[in-house]
């Protein structure tokens, strides 16, 4: 039961002389919401790309449900890729297809379904993320930012994956939409028993949704539960969770505001 769904060990990513990750370890357990945090340029996206198999690391292993994807061929990766869904930062919806067609595309690629079934299942996913029936027929360019993010999740959920990756899901949303998005994610996570890995900078979102957080500092990852990571001795992590902007989020989440205690 408590086997890690994702296990990254000794990951090394290098671009020329620039070392992004140097022996990075990360574990994500089943049914948890895991947040990836780090300053700009610390390689959050590179880490995500390595986990998704979009980029081969120089060293180390990435296991998804026990399969080492760094050594797998494209053909071996294909069934693994059907087990996770990804919602990219800007949505990455296919601009020439409607929302409905966007959601249907992974199903068409992997499954042999009747047209009516395909339609119904896709509409089910679209309804699940809180988009109405009209939105299904629209093209990505006709959607608002929040709707694009929701449509991206609907597409990520097309194949009923157990694992969902989100890249900055709340970036670019107003606070109300971002809060609604957090609730949607918690709802989906609970109802569909998903394991969620998300890159985020949104402190409110972290405190509201994440069980554990992994912070990339000095080319490694420090991960712990949300309650404990905030008091990590690393100065960058302290600054991140105790800075002026973090206080409000901590208070809102019902955590001690960190002003009175600490070092």
């Amino acid at each position: 039961m408590r086997n890690p769904v994702i296990e990254v060990q000794g990951l090394v990513n290098r671009f020329g002389s620039q070392v992004v990750h140097d022996g990075l370890d990360m574990q994500v357990m089943q049914h948890e919401v895991f947040g990836i945090v780090g300053g700009s340029g610390t390689g959050k996206s590179v880490l995500l790309r390595s986990i998704l198999g979009l980029q081969r690391p120089q060293a180390g292993s990435v296991r998804i449900e026990g399969h080492d994807i760094t050594r797998a061929s494209e053909a071996q990766l294909r069934p693994i890729k059907a087990r996770y869904g990804v919602a990219f930062q800007s949505g990455a919806l296919y601009s020439g297809l409607t929302v409905l067609q966007n959601v249907q595309l992974p199903m068409l690629e992997y499954l042999d379904l009747e047209a009516a079934v395909l339609d119904e299942l896709a509409r089910l996913k679209i309804g699940l993320v809180g988009l109405n029936a009209d939105a299904a027929e629209k093209y990505p360019a006709e959607l608002s930012g929040g709707m694009v993010k929701r449509a991206a999740i609907a597409r990520a959920l097309a194949l009923d994956p157990g694992l969902l990756f989100l890249d900055e899901p709340t970036s670019g949303l107003d606070p109300v939409s971002a809060a609604a998005f957090d609730e949607l994610m918690l709802f989906l996570q609970k109802e569909l028993k998903l394991t969620v890995i998300m890159i985020t900078h949104d402190l409110d979102s972290i405190f509201r949704t994440c069980n554990r957080v992994g912070v990339i500092v000095d080319r490694h990852m420090e991960s712990d539960t949300v309650e404990r990571i905030v008091d990590h001795p690393n100065p960058w992590i302290r600054e991140y969770f105790h800075g002026e902007r973090a206080r409000g989020a901590r208070i809102a989440a019902g955590l001690p505001d960190g002003a009175g205690h600490g070092a």
């Binding site: 199903m107 499954l111 299942l121 509409r123 699940l128 360019a141």
Partner: protein, 371 residues
């Protein structure tokens, strides 16, 4: 995924077993559809041996249960019904209620099609005219100041559309001239007037082929690159960013491209002419045993004072049409990657069409002028 069906006194007992996932939805639907519901008054579903049920599997089950209920039978679950069913019920409830009945679309008649085509055509023509007008006005406004003409940008476009196109233009000019010379040599040798091959090649290359071939090749090369470049800038809101900064996109994007190409194409044409004549010389020398000096003399004799200029004068006209078509279509791109591809195609087709059309008009004009 599998299911076991037992007939009981009350009706059916259905045991779901194994994994019910999206991968097996079709199989599940087939199995469920095959169940005979005749005279069944109650269905009991057991999910005890179910290892996993995803939304799609639950959806297939739900469709079956709908059929059972529609047949008047009662549905019960051994234990609690799966959560997924409730989730689907909640999700699908609202859209079904709010989905408005679509108005039946009227099938357009032929007359309507013609009308729509005409209106679209008229609007497009007006738009194109507006674009051309704005390009001219911007040019008139910028031509007075060297800074606003952006010589660096123009130089970049001369390099990208002109200098880098030299190898391919030269190669094509060489090959096509060789083909023409070879064909005419075969025909004329029988008549004993081989020397006229030189006339044919010289006049053909200088008046028509040099400029036309170069224009068509560079239309494919540059109209597409202009349209794609401006189109992706449009998609990326870069054009809006320029406008918002108070910079006229016509001045920084369209004008340097047009002017750069107007400079590059005549120069390319001269190169194509030279290489074409060389190709003729090579073929005449090898195939007809004509001394190079004789070829050169004959070329000089066959050229009228206007021959070269009749060809080269067309180059700037073709160039501005190609560049304008590329920029015009590029700036029309909106919203999607598919649109970008479509506009690039349209730009290239239009550019080549315009070049050939203008060439025909030039031919008529020169005939009237008797040159």
């Amino acid at each position: 995924m599998a299911l076991e069906i037992r007939r009981t006194a009350a009706g059916l007992q259905i045991d779901l077993t194994g994994e019910w996932g999206i991968r097996d939805v079709e199989a599940a639907r087939a199995q469920l559809a095959a169940i005979d519901l005749n005279a069944v008054r109650a269905v009991e579903v057991s999910t005890r041996d179910l290892t996993s049920l995803d939304l799609s599997g639950a959806w297939a089950l739900r469709e079956f249960l709908k059929r059972v209920r529609a047949g008047g039978a009662a549905v019960s679950f051994e234990g609690a019904p799966p959560d997924q069913l409730r989730l689907i019920d909640e999700t699908l409830k609202e859209p079904a209620a709010s989905a408005p009945a679509a108005a039946p679309a009227l099938k357009p008649g032929l007359l309507e099609d013609i009308g729509e085509f005409a209106v679209h055509g008229w609007r497009n023509a007006l738009q194109a005219l507006g674009f051309l007008g704005r390009a001219c006005v911007t040019f008139a406004a910028s031509v007075t100041s060297l800074r606003r003409l952006r010589p660096t940008s123009i130089a970049r476009h001369v390099y990208e559309t002109g200098i880098t196109a030299i190898p391919i233009t030269a190669l094509i000019a060489f090959l096509v001239t060789v083909i023409i010379a070879y064909l005419s040599a075969q025909q004329l040798r029988g008549l004993g007037v081989d020397i006229y091959v030189v006339d044919l090649v010289t006049i053909g290359v200088l008046r028509e082929l040099g400029v036309l071939l170069t224009s068509i090749i560079t239309a494919g090369r540059s109209a597409s690159s202009y349209a794609a470049e401006l189109g992706s800038m449009q998609l990326n809101e870069e054009v809006d960013a320029l406008t918002a900064t108070g910079v006229d996109p016509f001045e920084v994007l369209v004008l340097p491209r047009v002017l750069g190409f107007v400079i590059a194409l005549p120069l390319l044409t001269i190169i194509a002419d030279l290489v074409g004549l060389t190709g003729g010389a090579v073929l005449c020398h090898w195939l007809l045993d004509m001394p190079i000096t004789q070829y050169v003399t004959r070329v000089n004799e066959s050229i009228a004072p206007t021959t070269f200029w009749v060809g080269i004068i067309k180059a700037p006209v073709f160039a501005s049409m190609i560049a304008l078509a590329g920029c015009y279509r590029g700036l029309q791109v909106r919203n999607s990657a598919r649109e970008l591809g479509h506009k690039v195609t349209v730009a290239v087709v239009e550019a080549i069409f315009l070049v050939i059309l203008a060439d025909a008009l030039f031919a008529v004009l020169f005939m009237k002028m008797d040159i």
